[in-house]
Symmetry: C2
Amino acid sequence: MVKAKAVPKKCYSDTEQLSLPDVTWAEDLAKLSWALAHPARVRIVRLLLSRTSCMCGEIVEEMPLAQSTVSQHLKILKVAGLVQGEIDGPRVCYCINKAAMAKLKLLIADL
Amino acid sequence: MVKAKAVPKKCYSDTEQLSLPDVTWAEDLAKLSWALAHPARVRIVRLLLSRTSCMCGEIVEEMPLAQSTVSQHLKILKVAGLVQGEIDGPRVCYCINKAAMAKLKLLIADL
DNA sequence: TAGGTATATCGTAAATCGACGATAGACAAT
DNA sequence: ATTGTCTATCGTCGATTTACGATATACCTA
């Protein structure tokens, strides 16, 4: 069973002199990085970036993984906010969330 | 017991029209992303970036985690190539691997 | 309404992650 | 040589990830 990722244990103490922006900053970047922490998901993102949109079925065809496995990777990307899925009749049309991509690029560039 | 991360199952088939650079590209980015896929590791990287170098003990003081846990996170960052550790007497002096950081920024920017 | 297609979810198994305390190893100082 | 300090590794536990087949769900089309 695939469950939603639990919130990791705080990596800072309450008494610590750590600005709130810095904490959320680290958590945001960790969440986005986590979405890309598997080659299959990187490939999915690349595929979606190379098109304006993409049917789920097309993604499955590009990967040597079971349909259910691809669906799980897509769910992870959706939870992280990196992709969006839109129902289009009997299919689902996926596309990149450009705002999230921009945020990721900004966070990495600002490292 | 902490073991080295195993190579994930290929996310491409042999017959696929996929250029080798693209495959290694995805794996490289996944590996670097995976290193940053935890808030504690993001914070460690940020800490190292704010200084030219940092003793392991200083890092432990900044985090409300056990010394062994911090050491594990550092190992993950080392395996991914993002940080380097240099023995300095009884301590270990950690620093960012600037080449790896540059590679990460390039890979993300090129997404 | 029945059938076919496309996608998500369920259930499961093996592997990995993340945390900790305990311990081992390396080094400096006494 | 002995002691103390610093760091890495070991061993363990529970939670998560990744994979798959099977099944449920949603939606067109006939």
